[in-house]
Symmetry: C2
Subunit: 277 residues, 2 copies
Amino acid sequence: MNGKELFGIIKKKGSFLCIGLDTDIDKIPSHLLEFDDPIFEFNKQIIDATHDLAVAYKPNIAFYEVMGSKGWISLQKTVEHIRKTTKDILIIADAKRGDIGNTSAMYAKTFFETFDFDAVTLAPYMGLDTVSPFLKYDDKWSVVLALTSNNSANDFQYLTDKDDGKTLYETVLRKAQEWGSTDQIMFVVGATKAKSLQSVRDIAPNSFLLVPGVGAQGGSLEEVAKYGMNDHCGLLVNSSRGIIYASNNETFAQEARKNANQLQKEMESYLKNARLI
Amino acid sequence: MNGKELFGIIKKKGSFLCIGLDTDIDKIPSHLLEFDDPIFEFNKQIIDATHDLAVAYKPNIAFYEVMGSKGWISLQKTVEHIRKTTKDILIIADAKRGDIGNTSAMYAKTFFETFDFDAVTLAPYMGLDTVSPFLKYDDKWSVVLALTSNNSANDFQYLTDKDDGKTLYETVLRKAQEWGSTDQIMFVVGATKAKSLQSVRDIAPNSFLLVPGVGAQGGSLEEVAKYGMNDHCGLLVNSSRGIIYASNNETFAQEARKNANQLQKEMESYLKNARLI
């Protein structure tokens, strides 16, 4: 999927919602534990109830790895179920991989061939060598960590270079745009720093930004839209816990839909305000 | 395993060799493809042939992920086989994980509970929040990427801070030592930059360093020992392809042993020169 197609889905659905599938066996409704594969059953019901409201799903790979080989089966089935359910969706592996050479090529093969993801989150510490194997795949995305919303983002991301006065995250934004086109590279930008989105937009005006941290992590959707939206939306805003754990009983999927719907409606209004739909 | 115990094993074996299990289904001897689990069978024979010469094994997680859920079974069996074979070994998951909060806790649980690893390689971009869940486990190690040996290491690792004149990798080395003790934190330092090891040692005199890149990637073991060794050795030097793919026929494990033995003998001489054994 390229950027134009993604914008097409955003307009069609009036939404730039990404639903994070951080599916935790200790948090899903207990009646699901009777199923052979409770993780998949949970995801399936969430997907069935929300796919018209979301433009992306983002399985958080840590939550599947922790289950060992069974978790990878749940993940595989989840990706296949999304593909079967709708064509109008981007599937992001939130994996934060970051290696080089042959190893990085194996990670790219994992997420783009073994699994049928459209995008993978990547850590930039080792530079272009981490990203280049992912760029060899057509219509796939590398989602590069730029500015994150956690407390210790400050440890390194704000280091300021003595020569050009730019911070590390600004340098990542600038260099990564040289590595690939805006159809290949997105950036992770934390939502609790919505005003920083303006500085990100100055450097990367045309890139899609994946914005986690709205909802449970405290970011404001209104501010994200205000500072982050560009002429093709350019935003995917993620919510995980606020949607998938909306309720802990048998109606969890309907409750998830309600919360997703509320976000989608709000997103639709921002898209209308910006005259994008 | 703490640092003192690790040094004990180094002295006992006269070795600071880490063998990288980058086991690729396309590179292992073809007669192994008849086995139910060729990846595990390959690893098993390598481990059986080399465990007295190595102080650590380092499965490269990308090579298991690419096989999907089957790969995670091979990985599980590999770790169990190492544990069954010897007590005198450190098992490192080369995973380069780097996330925060709940997600990072899931990665820690994956490698320290779901699997029985002693150590995990981690990417520092998001700061302390990535590492802190791993530090909660006793006798386990976080191996933090500091200075890597790839071409594009230069993209970000050498950015120099305007205030203190330190590079990013130097800042990682300094800060990460505040996060945990030298029994908890190791660093990845690329071997093709052996002279940089001296600058690393100035900042982290007492830390263990995991040094990839000797052999296939072009680093010199002699230089690594010269610039990197401290009073408790403080080095784990990795070789992957140079050992495990020494031969492609039925005697591959014996050939692997020959190459491992050669490295071990050389390491033993450096340990003797330094009067550590």
